[in-house]
């Protein structure tokens, strides 16, 4: 089916082809007949041999051959010589079939099956493989077979590693050999085999090795992914760590139990409203972990916080998550008095928090924060929905820190709790610095992989050198590199754009001053409410992707409008969010809103002017929790009642997404999906809704 030229068949070819076809057809029907009647005569055996050589893909013929071998072995009465000759003969047959079609799954499996009977000379297999692999060094069947034979032979991983080196030295453009090398090396380093420990020495050698490939022909991809793997081995920390929390360490949270408080004497960054006197406690790890529960997280406080229910913030039923949340309810105090509570959270004091790769959390961490319950104001509580949030520029004013020093306003340093492993970082920093110097040269030659690798190295450098402050000293240079790449490699421009967005967000969130530039006080002049809300405005930044969420856990009002976001993955960690503006982005489907289902405080949502309903292919169909991925049950019948007749099956995404939200304001105008029927469905699905597309509902 591959690589045959398209040409009109000549009559004489057609005749020849028909004759061939007739012969093959006769063979095939005779084989099936023998197979069904369990005929294993010499003649029948020869016929099947002839067929698998002519058509090595004929799997039923191989199955028949297996029965033949079993039949013959049973006849041989365990005479070792005849056993061996039966199996050798079969191996010979497979060999000639493979010469006919080197990619036949059936032939390769048949060979493994014969070998698994024992009695065969395995050294011969390696010689055969060498011949095959010289003629096609990338054939993945041969490489798989090689791993199989090496295991049968108990060949050492060192020997196989030497073989990959041999193959690469013969021709570095051999991705298969690089791949096998990464598998073998990884095992050897894990086992700390002699010569493969410490890993720093090994990695340095491998860097040298892969440089040869990349610098000889930078356009050849064979070494690209191997290099990225080395970089990952250099930079990443295997151990799970806590990187951020809300409330942050050493913060003072003001908890008010009614909505609008116009007391501006305290920092709005840490004030939080909850009618029920409850705050979320969010833990953000460097990787997905499981085992976060009330025995691995202990809380010291003056009131009872036992048996808290910890939930993974995920769109499926997994118990493996990077972000976890629980809710702490404070005791009911007299409405007019204020009360302060000290809380001490210990993470990982007792074992049980564990990463996907099975590594235990081994850096017990403590965070302490104070929560001050404000007295309840006498005036009647007003819901946010009562005052419509208007995302107009005139309602936003640059935030001016008031009584306090600006230093203490944005809780930025406190977010990063851990820095660790100071010993290993010397080698890491040195290695990265060397690599940066090398790739700077390649980058200047206007070479794609040179620029991309340099950008990755500089980012890694910044992360390694300043884990606490995340100063991102090179972010300007990295942003420029991605801008260059967008022009240099337009085919993948969106990949570079996404990377550009991530770096830009790292830069914005890297220090207090730059973050303050995006903080605004929201005051709706038209309404009587005197808000004390801080809005983080990240609008008009050409963001195609969200990132640095761990720095933004405190945000309650977020403006991401006028960007190019098609995904809001990660936003589910922002558990404090109550107002979110996503208008004028590129969200392409309802399932793309999946993360919002986990935001229980969300009341005001603007998704106007996106692309919801304009696409036939839904790219988040399997990332959102749905019945298609068995992460959500269907209960259409009860939904049918809710929607009052509108077809649930035709609108199942809307039902899934909106049913679990308690929005008071929603704007959806400017999406293909948003017609009158859809809007009336929304009104039924979200009974809390007071404003829809700027219209008051009741």
């Amino acid at each position: 089916m591959h690589g045959r030229p398209r040409k009109a068949a000549k009559p004489e070819d057609e005749a020849a082809s028909a004759a061939q076809a007739q012969e093959l057809r006769a063979l095939q029907s005779q084989l099936l007949s023998n197979h069904h009647n369990k005929i294993y005569t010499d003649e029948a055996q020869q016929l099947s041999a002839k067929l698998v050589q002519q058509n090595p893909e004929s799997y039923t013929a191989w199955n028949y051959r297996k029965l033949v071998v079993q039949h013959n072995l049973a006849q041989s009465e365990s005479d070792p010589d005849s056993l061996k000759s039966i199996l050798d003969q079969e191996l010979g047959l497979v060999e000639s079939a493979l010469k006919q079609n080197f990619k036949s799954y059936g032939a390769w499996h048949h060979r493994k099956w014969v070998l698994s009977k024992g009695h065969s000379v395995l050294d011969r297999e390696l010689k055969l493989l060498k011949r095959f692999q010289q003629s096609d060094p990338r054939n993945f069947h041969a490489w798989n077979y090689r791993r199989f034979v090496a295991a049968l032979l108990n060949r050492s991983e060192e020997e196989e590693l030497d073989y990959t080196r041999e193959m690469i030295e013969h021709n570095f453009s051999n991705y298969s050999a690089w791949h096998n090398r990464s598998v073998l090396l990884c095992n050897l380093m894990k086992k700390k085999s002699q010569g493969f420990f410490p890993k720093e020495k090994v990695l340095n050698d491998e860097y040298e090795h892969v440089h040869d490939a990349i610098f000889t022909d930078p356009d050849d991809q064979s070494g690209w992914f191997y290099y990225l793997w080395l970089l990952d081995q250099t930079v990443k920390t295997d151990a799970p760590l806590l990187v951020a929390s809300w409330p942050a360490h050493e913060s003072d949270v003001i908890l008010s139990r009614n909505r609008r408080s116009d007391d501006s004497s305290f920092s709005p960054f840490d004030s939080f409203h909850s009618d029920s006197g409850t705050i979320p406690l969010i833990l953000y790890f460097n990787q997905a972990v499981e085992g976060v529960n009330s025995s691995t997280i202990t809380i010291e406080s003056s009131f009872c916080t036992k048996d808290l229910n910890w939930k993974p913030l995920l769109q499926n039923n997994s118990q493996l998550s990077q972000v976890w949340v629980t809710h702490i309810k404070f005791p009911d105090v007299k409405p007019h008095s204020s009360e302060a509570y000290q809380l001490k959270i210990s993470v990982g004091q007792s074992q049980g928090i564990i990463s996907a790769s099975g590594i235990h959390y081994s850096h017990p961490t403590q965070l302490a924060f104070k929560v001050c319950l404000r007295p309840i104001e006498t005036e009647p509580a007003t819901k946010k929905g009562g005052h419509r949030i208007l995302w107009r520029d005139e309602n936003f004013h640059m935030y001016q820190p008031q009584s306090q020093e600006p230093d203490e306003v944005v809780p930025i340093d406190q977010l990063i709790i851990n820095d660790h492993e100071p010993t290993a970082s010397n080698w890491r920093a040195e290695t990265i610095a060397n690599e940066i110097a090398l790739f700077r040269e390649l980058s200047e030659l206007n070479c794609k992989i040179g620029k991309l690798t340099l950008a990755r190295l500089l980012t890694a450098h910044d992360v390694i050198l300043s884990p606490r402050t995340s100063k991102m000293a090179h972010s300007e240079e990295v942003l420029e590199l991605y801008t260059d790449l967008i022009k240099l490699d337009p085919l993948h421009s969106q990949y570079y754009k996404d990377e550009h967005s991530l770096v830009l967000l790292q830069k914005v969130t890297s220090n207090r001053e730059s973050l303050l530039n995006h903080c605004f006080s929201y005051k709706n002049l038209a309404s009587s409410s005197i808000g004390n809300d801080i809005c983080l405005r990240l609008s008009n930044l050409s963001l195609s992707r969200m990132g640095s969420i761990e720095k933004l856990l405190w945000v309650q009002m977020l403006d991401l409008s006028h960007n190019e976001l098609h995904s809001i993955e990660g936003l589910e960690a922002m558990q404090l969010l109550s107002c979110l503006n996503l208008s004028n982005n590129k969200l392409g489907s309802l399932t793309a809103l999946g993360p919002l289902r986990l935001l229980k405080s969300l009341e005001v949502l603007d998704i106007s002017y996106n692309e919801i309903g304009s696409h036939t292919i839904d790219r988040t169909r399997y990332l959102c929790s749905t019945p298609l991925s068995h992460t959500e049950e269907t209960s259409w019948n009860s939904d049918e009642i809710v929607t009052g007749g509108a077809s649930v099956k035709d609108n199942w995404e809307a039902v899934l997404i909106f049913k679990s939200m308690s929005l008071t304001q929603l704007a959806i105008v400017g999406n293909a999906i948003s017609g009158e029927n859809f809007k009336s469905l929304l009104v039924k699905l979200v009974p809390t809704l007071e404003w829809l597309d700027g219209d008051k509902l009741h």
Binding site: N180, W224, L228
Partner: protein
């Protein structure tokens, strides 16, 4: 850029059935069940499924079923999961799953799960993550996923994950776009996509697009081929990274592989066409939102309306 020669492709697909005597079709006779799935799904995407005789197809499919419950690639051939899934998919297209003894088919597939969670393709024990996908997709379509140990099945697939973010057919085996589709698809159907490093895999997959032709290859430093418009593209969609490739250039590549005169699509421009590449070309265009085609589901490889009907409409 040319346009999709839909009418010609329909004619080509229908005519393949009638050319049973050519050498190619005899060589492929043992995978006729796959061929039926490719051809009929392509017809459905092109909006022309009604040109075939449903009863004829259904009765032929049932004749390929073995006593074990599994299906062979053609009448008289041994059962194997490869053809069992195709049989179920073909019946799904026609909304005819009710002709099956579902319990029996599901038992055949579930019975092939091994202790380590992997799946054998048939009684002879070949193990491959392709078979994991097939078993999971097939059982899900039959609403019988509870017959296997899903957790173990997922863990086996994860043991085949590589350092480049991709997946191979067994632990340690090299990443390959076809294999990646199978593993990502199986993880998608079981709600387990969070185990994938989407950025790493997404970069590997988007680098499959060739600068010169716009086509996608299946592994680094290999030639582009229309069938990877399906394998790589569907994977990119499931992990929401499809914007990292250039859609227009890929559309052009697929259209360039059409035989405008006689219908059909080939692996590369000016090669001989076949049903396999015709299906993957059309399916790829559907994923690229080419106008006039029905939408295809990236995980089940069936039209979206068929999947929704089966999975949601209980």
């Amino acid at each position: 850029m040319g346009e999709l020669a839909s009418q010609k492709h329909v004619q080509f697909i229908v005519s393949v059935e009638k050319k049973k005597d050519s050498f190619e079709s005899v060589v492929m006779e043992h995978i006729r069940m796959n061929g039926a799935y490719w051809g009929l799904t392509a017809l459905d995407l092109l909006g022309k499924l009604h040109v075939v005789d449903v009863e004829e197809v259904v009765s032929w499919v049932l004749q390929c079923q073995d006593d074990s419950g599994g299906f062979g690639g053609n009448i008289g051939h041994d059962p194997h999961v490869l053809y069992t899934l195709s049989a179920v998919q073909v019946l799904a297209l026609f909304d005819k799953l009710d002709v099956l003894d579902i319990e029996k088919v599901a038992s055949y597939v579930a019975g092939l799960q091994n202790e380590d969670g992997s799946f054998s393709g048939d009684m002879w024990g070949e193990i491959d993550t392709r078979f994991s996908y097939i078993a999971i997709s097939c059982l899900s379509l039959l609403h019988r996923l509870d017959k296997i140990n899903v957790e173990k099945a997922v863990n086996y697939i994860l043991s085949c994950k590589n350092h480049d973010g991709g997946f191979g057919c067994t632990p340690g085996a090299e990443s390959h776009a076809g294999q990646i589709f199978c593993c990502v698809g199986a993880l998608a159907i079981t709600g387990s996509l969070h185990h994938i490093d989407k950025d790493l895999l997404g970069w590997w997959l988007c680098e499959r697009q060739d600068n010169k032709t716009g086509g996608l290859n299946g592994r680094p430093e290999k030639l582009p081929d229309v069938c990877y418009s399906w394998w790589a593209l569907s994977s990119l969609i499931m992990i929401d990274r499809v914007h990292w490739i250039n859609k227009d250039k890929l559309i052009k590549f697929i259209l360039d592989c059409q035989d405008i005169e006689n219908g059909g699509i080939s692996d590369r421009p000016d090669d001989a066409v076949d049903v396999y590449h015709t299906y993957f070309g059309v399916a790829g265009l559907s994923l690229l939102e080419y106008p006039g085609l029905k939408a295809i589901d990236p995980a089940y490889a069936l039209p979206v309306d068929v999947v929704d009907r089966i999975i949601l409409d209980r």
